[in-house]
Symmetry: C2
Subunit: 190 residues, 2 copies
DNA sequence: AAAGTAGACTAACGATCGTTAGTTTACTTG
DNA sequence: CAAGTAAACTAACGATCGTTAGTCTACTTT
C-alpha cells in the first residue's frame, strides 16, 4: 500500500509551481506537463486542484501547530523557547521550501479547509504571543510593544524559504544560530 | 488635465483586490463590479490588466529605490541610516497597504516591466547590503553573517502592510521607533 | 444650438479553465 | 493464460477569461 509515489509527485510539483506563480495562475495542464502526462490523468490520483492545495497547506500547518504546542508546554525559560521556535522554523523551511510559499500566499484560496487552517494559525500565533508576553513579565525581554516583537520575528521566520536558496554556503545549524542572535540579541555591537 | 480620477480609482480598487486574492485570481469583471460598471468600460481608462499591475508596482518600486539612494548617500553613520530605512518602510507601508502586497507577491506576473522592476529591487537591496557591510567594518554592527541581518530586516519591513491594520492603537512614529529598537537593539533585557 | 468628448453600454471573439466520461494500454496476480 | 487493475489516453462539457468593436448617452465647449 505504498503506491502513493505518483500522488506525492503531483503534490510536490504543484507546490513548486504554486511557489513560482501562485495557485490561481497554475493550471492543471501546467502541472500535468511537468509530469509528461495529460491533465485528465491527474484525476486518477487526486480529487481536484483544491485537494492538492489542501494537502500542501494543512499538513504543514498541523506540523507547525503541534511542534509549537510542545515548545510552549515545556519547562524551559522563555528565551530558550524563542530559540527553539527559530530552530523549528529553520528546520521546516529547509525541508519544505515550496510548501511554505503556499502556506504564506495561497491559504486564502482554500475553499473547504480555510476555517481549520485559520484555527491552526491562530493557535500557533497565540502560543507565540504568550511566550513573548511571559518573557516580558518575567523580565527576560524588554518591555516594548509585544505585538511588534511578535510581528518582527514571525515575518522573518515565515519567509525563510525565500532566502535559504540564496544562502547556499550556510547550513541549518549555522542559520539557526545566526538568526537567533540577530532576532533576540540585536545587531548592535556594544 | 487632472481628469485621472477614474483611472486612479481603478488602480486603487485593483490593488485592494490583488492584495486579497492575487493578480491572477482577480478578473477584469471583478474590478468592474467594485466600481459598478461593466468590464469593457475599464478600457476607456486603462490599456490592459497588465497595465494596472505595472502602474501599481513600478511607481512603488521607484519610490523605494529613490529614497534608499538618498539615505545611502547621506553623511550619517550607518546605524542612523538603518533607522532611516525603518522609517522609510513604515512611511510607505502606511500610505500604500494594498500596493505593497502586489510589490511583494505579484511582481512575477509583470510581463513587460519585470526586468526594470528587478533592476530597481537589486539597486535597493545592494544599497541596503552596503550599509550593513559598512556598519560591520566600522565596528558599529556585530560581525554576524550580513546576509542574515539583511534578510531579517527586509522580511520584517516588507510585510509591515500585513500587520499595520492589526495594530490600530499605534501610530507611525511609535511603530517606527519600536521597530528600530527591536530590529537593531534586540529584544533582550540586559 | 451645434460639435465634440468622456465614459458608459451590449455583444461577441477565441483562448483557456477545471473536470467528467469512456477507452486503451501495460503490468500484476490468480 | 485469464482476469483484474493502475494509470495513462482522447474527446468534450460549460464556465470564465481578457479584450475588441461598435453604439449610445450626457455633459462640456464653442
Amino acid at each position: 500500500m505504498k503506491k502513493e509515489t505518483r500522488k506525492e509527485q503531483i503534490i510536490q510539483i504543484s507546490a513548486k509551481l504554486f511557489k513560482d506563480k501562485g495557485y490561481a495562475a497554475v493550471s492543471m495542464r501546467d502541472i500535468a506537463k511537468e509530469l509528461d502526462i495529460k491533465a485528465a490523468s491527474l484525476y486518477n490520483h487526486i480529487e481536484s486542484k483544491q485537494d492538492i492545495l489542501k494537502i500542501i497547506i494543512i499538513s504543514l500547518a498541523e506540523e507547525f501547530t503541534k511542534r509549537m504546542t510542545v515548545i510552549y508546554s515545556s519547562n524551559e525559560n522563555n528565551i530558550s523557547k524563542l530559540h527553539q521556535i527559530v530552530a523549528l522554523h529553520v528546520d521546516i523551511a529547509y525541508r519544505n521550501q515550496y510548501e511554505m510559499a503556499s502556506l504564506n500566499n495561497n491559504w486564502m484560496h482554500l475553499e473547504n479547509g480555510i476555517t481549520y487552517y485559520l484555527e491552526l494559525r491562530n493557535s500557533y500565533e497565540d502560543n507565540f504571543r504568550a511566550i513573548i508576553n511571559n518573557g516580558v513579565q518575567s523580565g527576560e525581554l524588554i518591555n516594548s510593544n509585544p505585538e511588534v516583537t511578535l510581528f518582527s520575528m514571525l515575518s522573518t521566520l515565515r519567509h525563510l524559504y525565500l532566502w535559504i536558496p540564496k544562502m547556499e554556503e550556510i547550513n541549518p545549524k549555522e542559520l539557526s544560530d545566526n538568526l537567533s542572535k540577530v532576532l533576540i540579541n540585536g545587531i548592535l555591537n556594544k
